[in-house]
Assembly symmetry: C2
Homo-oligomer: 331 residues x 2
């Protein structure tokens, strides 16, 4: 039986969207049991289908814009950290939160601890590519100032992740840079580039932003500042392209007719762009399964994040990462 | 009479695409005269309409992937640098190149020099936003490792640019970061953020990638590494969205019918995404008008870059930037 803790107070649309997502996950038998952590007075009235849902009352909540260091000092009894405590004690097998991602990273490290030999756990986001595969990007925002050695650790975790979850035998690892040539890169990437060649990875060298979508790499590595900026650029352009397209359609009846015939294609496209399709991003390098969702997560995103968490528990993701990490660092 | 030097040997499709673009610009009377710098033996046979086009024979060319420092040492007699020399001597009023952008920046600084008080000239890219305006991003790739003071200079140049070219009275300046809150940012942006508040600019604080497209900011400032990665992410997602959409259309006749009615809308969309629409990116902070084009520039991109250069010459862009910079640094 898989039990997953879900932070009912995390996210811009919490607790409503979180409760709805948890209910959907139970209804669709994605998971056996869900433990909602949060303020019972707020959560209980929202629950329409209590089957499979349990509440652990935790009145304190981490604010979306609170500094992680402050949350870590003052909010150990928060709904967010309670989830990690339940995971630590073995009462649940995974945690899902759409709350403050910096705080989630901080609490995960504090409460669960890191997998041995990992200095900096990282947020890994999944991107469908046009080669019909998936490319994972890490770090997507956990660690803004990185040293070269941290990027190497991200590469190793990404490698382990693609091996265990997507059964890719020799994941192609690229280092995100401003060009493919050796002469490109900044101080950080140049040092990391040299180091990367010394590790037993299928390192393909520098990759560019376009390679996140064309299937050239399975794993794209960067520091969390660059990764986060990149993701938000992608979100921004995808949204504005759809707006441009819809605006130009509204200008003519012919285009509206055309749209009618193409509706499915647009819906498919919006799914591709929609972060809620994958639900969330795994936190790699901590000792336990944790999925971090977009702050704007809706019911569907929460449900899919619960599905992703369940999938990682099934595949013993964390044990695989641990083993891979140990084997790399030993060699 | 406006004369513009165009580097005939720069770009992935040079010299063909460059010669075609120069011919179009002359045919459409976008410019009075064009000086093509490059290997006459290669260029001359390509010219079908010689009216308004002059060749300055320069057999040496900078390679697309050559290190800028090496080009600067060994290729002062290149087609690229010859353009800057012509500009310096007053024989032309602007330079357009689709060649190695790092080398272009290096030669521009070496041959033309910087506008007083600018440490690091920057590449500024123009982005149409959904508020029907334009947002300028800088630095888009010139300077990979920046200090906080450099970001302030980029902000001031962006401000001057939006005032003189787009007549925006008080351009809203944002600093690209991984979130809007004060607690976000990395070491570089946090220091720059504090400094930015001390300068007399309409500084709106941290902005995110999405703000490059939603019209919230007129000027978005970042270091050249982050800027370049961001641009290539945007390119990648735009291209792959169009591929996804076309693929899903090919699956059904109904969607093909729909596409037929919507063709204009798609063409409009492709224009929006297409870098060749603006043609190129001005290099700000050097003492002369220079437009750097995408390496993949086609005929249309070159033509539009020539138009952009002409426009900047007309508006005395460089004098405006000089004046604005001086007034900021004096205050």
């Amino acid at each position: 039986m898989v039990r997953i803790a879900v932070d009912a107070m995390g996210g811009d649309f919490a607790p409503q969207a979180v409760v709805r997502g948890a209910e959907s996950a139970c209804r669709e038998k994605i998971v056996d049991q869900i433990v909602l952590t949060g303020n019972e007075e707020l959560i209980k009235p929202l629950i329409k289908e209590p089957k499979g849902i349990e509440i652990v009352h935790t009145p304190v909540a981490v604010e979306m814009h609170e500094a992680p260091s402050s949350a870590l000092r003052k909010k150990r009894d928060s709904s967010m950290n309670r989830g990690f405590e339940l995971l630590k004690s073995g009462s649940v097998q995974a945690v899902v939160t759409a709350g403050n991602s910096g705080a989630a990273l901080a609490f995960a490290i504090f409460t669960l601890g890191r997998i041995g030999m990992v200095d900096r756990p990282a947020i890994a986001t999944l991107h469908p590519n046009i080669a019909r595969g998936v490319t994972v990007l890490l770090d997507a925002g956990g660690n803004v100032d990185c040293k070269p050695a941290h990027l190497i650790q991200f590469a190793i975790m990404g490698d382990a992740f693609m091996r265990s979850v997507f059964s890719i035998k020799s994941p192609r690892i690229g280092l995100l840079s401003n060009g493919e040539e050796e002469t490109k890169g900044n101080e950080l990437t140049r040092e990391a580039h040299d180091l990367m060649k010394t590790v037993d990875l299928n390192y393909i060298g520098y990759v560019e932003g376009t390679d996140l979508y064309n299937g050239r790499a399975d794993v794209v590595v960067c520091d969390g500042f660059v990764g986060n900026v990149a993701l938000k650029i992608a979100e921004g352009i995808a949204e504005s392209l759809l707006i441009f397209l819809k605006e130009s359609m509204e200008k003519s009846i012919m285009k509206r007719v055309g749209y009618f015939f193409m509706k499915d294609a647009f819906q498919e496209l919006e799914k591709k762009v929609d972060y809620s399709e994958y639900g969330g991003a795994p936190l790699l390098g901590i000792d336990g399964v944790c999925i971090i969702c977009h702050g704007k997560s809706n019911e569907r995103a929460i449900k899919n994040a619960i599905r992703l968490a369940h999938n990682f528990v099934d595949k013993n993701l964390n044990d695989s990462i641990k083993e891979t990490m140990i084997s790399y660092f030993k060699s």
